[in-house]
Symmetry: C2
Subunit: 343 residues, 2 copies
Amino acid sequence: MKLSFRWYGDNDPVKLQNIKQIPDMKHIVSAIYDVPVGDIWPKERIADLKSSVEKEGLSLSVIESLPVHESIKLGEGSRDQLIENYKESLKNLGEVGIKTVCYNFMPVFDWTRTDLNYVLEDGSETLMYDNDVVKNLDPITTNLHLPGWDESYTKTEMSSLIRKYRTMTDDDLWDNLTYFLNEVLPVAVECDINLTIHPDDPPWSIFGIPRIIKTKESYEKLLNINNVKNNGICFCTGSLGCLEENNLPEMIRTFGDHIHFVHMRNIKRLGNHSFVETGHLSKEGSVDMKEVIKALKDINYKGTIRPDHGRMIWGETGKAGYGLYDRALGATYINGLIEGVDK
Amino acid sequence: MKLSFRWYGDNDPVKLQNIKQIPDMKHIVSAIYDVPVGDIWPKERIADLKSSVEKEGLSLSVIESLPVHESIKLGEGSRDQLIENYKESLKNLGEVGIKTVCYNFMPVFDWTRTDLNYVLEDGSETLMYDNDVVKNLDPITTNLHLPGWDESYTKTEMSSLIRKYRTMTDDDLWDNLTYFLNEVLPVAVECDINLTIHPDDPPWSIFGIPRIIKTKESYEKLLNINNVKNNGICFCTGSLGCLEENNLPEMIRTFGDHIHFVHMRNIKRLGNHSFVETGHLSKEGSVDMKEVIKALKDINYKGTIRPDHGRMIWGETGKAGYGLYDRALGATYINGLIEGVDK
């Protein structure tokens, strides 16, 4: 397994010089953040990103994410041109040597939390999701802003988007994902790129909007679209672990050939679809991290794996979930598990 | 196993508030640093230390170290009073509830290194030991100061001490350790305290002075003095690992009943008795940390274990080997190993 660390580019307060001092850290997960969603990623920009990572003796191993435009998810008329652009971006990524690309198919809202600064007993701060808050909140009628909302939308644009999705069923969203994958997978195969879909976070519908990548059945449907190995999965233990019914090791053993990227994160289920993000250790949360690593060893997983969200500890400030310290603690913990677990 | 962290008291730049945010960190290893060596540790001072640790929700689990006066190691006339004082300190520690006490029997020099700021490839700084530097240096005739020297000695005192030890053989030093243990072990048994001797660091003679806690044979001799379990061992992988002949897992399985404290540290042997301290991961150094944890699980080790020396990373400054960051990375790595390794 290739241990990696997500880096938000030159503006990230966490610098590559710090990341590379984490023991055995050789791989970087990153993206280009200033190209508007739907536009083609220029090859030179990708090459620049790659060389800035390599200048520090690290490898750019995964692109997270190459985002999918809302019009593609909505199945609007403009999607064909947007999908053509997506293919061009994939080709450019392939030409620069990128082999793994992460994306998601969550409408409007990416990851959703109700609190970014929930204080744990030890004084550290973490992300939490209180289901009651979300249930009692209608983003069309209220002016509340949840962390994770895309603030680049105006209130009117956001309301219009949500209204459109509310007319859609899960099946409609599946149709649009199918349309998208049927178009882009042949290009991914040609470019030798594994596309990996990130699960919905949390893995259930919010605000009356469909969400479809949630459970074992979701992955069965995904692979029914096309069983080529490039139709891949980003296996996120923190997202999938929010549903107790998700047997993570079993899912890994079932869909192993399609897993090309792993996010290691722990959450504590609080009941009633609420949860808090914890440190990575199994004993701190609801996810049995050892059993996850064991399953990955059983499928002979050789891909990229990274510690996901960390708490804010030791007074660190920065991008919620993406500080240096607790994620680095997660990295060495994961390395201990990988070394300790016998196949 | 009880994961712990060494803390140098209120003056330590690493604060308890930071230590307790390391996942699963509940135990503190500390000492009283301002009582002159040989004097009795007052009970109130020990109780104060304990309560300052407990105020942060942590436990004071090991005293490292209760130092042994040079006159005891030299077998001088004053040793009897100094040993009586040592017994009183043990009684006071016992009354406050301390169950594990670390000490060493290294003459004059505790741990010895030739460089505290050796720069590794990733830009981190670490401790290293260059045998050629030590071999070509006579602390009596030169004015050089190695890191780790006790600067509280004057040049004349230091020279006098060294001259005395140079007249002693290893057997003489063993006699003095035997005399000391015969006196203090009955008190340790009565107080229910496990005394744990730290190995010599590095585990060979330096500057023509005897050193005796180095190898498997050393521990056989130690337990021949008295086989009571309170005659214990602080098993330091970094010190013992400097000698390739030391089979650490085998030593753990052989002397397991006497191991009450473990230091997890990694070094890279450079040949010719030189070495550099690395991050904790097995793949970074010469010590197979997984095999160490496996052996500890085999003997059903329930005692205290701590990450030892870390590198200086992320621009941290402070006490060489005892920064927060890399030791914390060691702690979560050790936790991953403990969780991952099946018994």
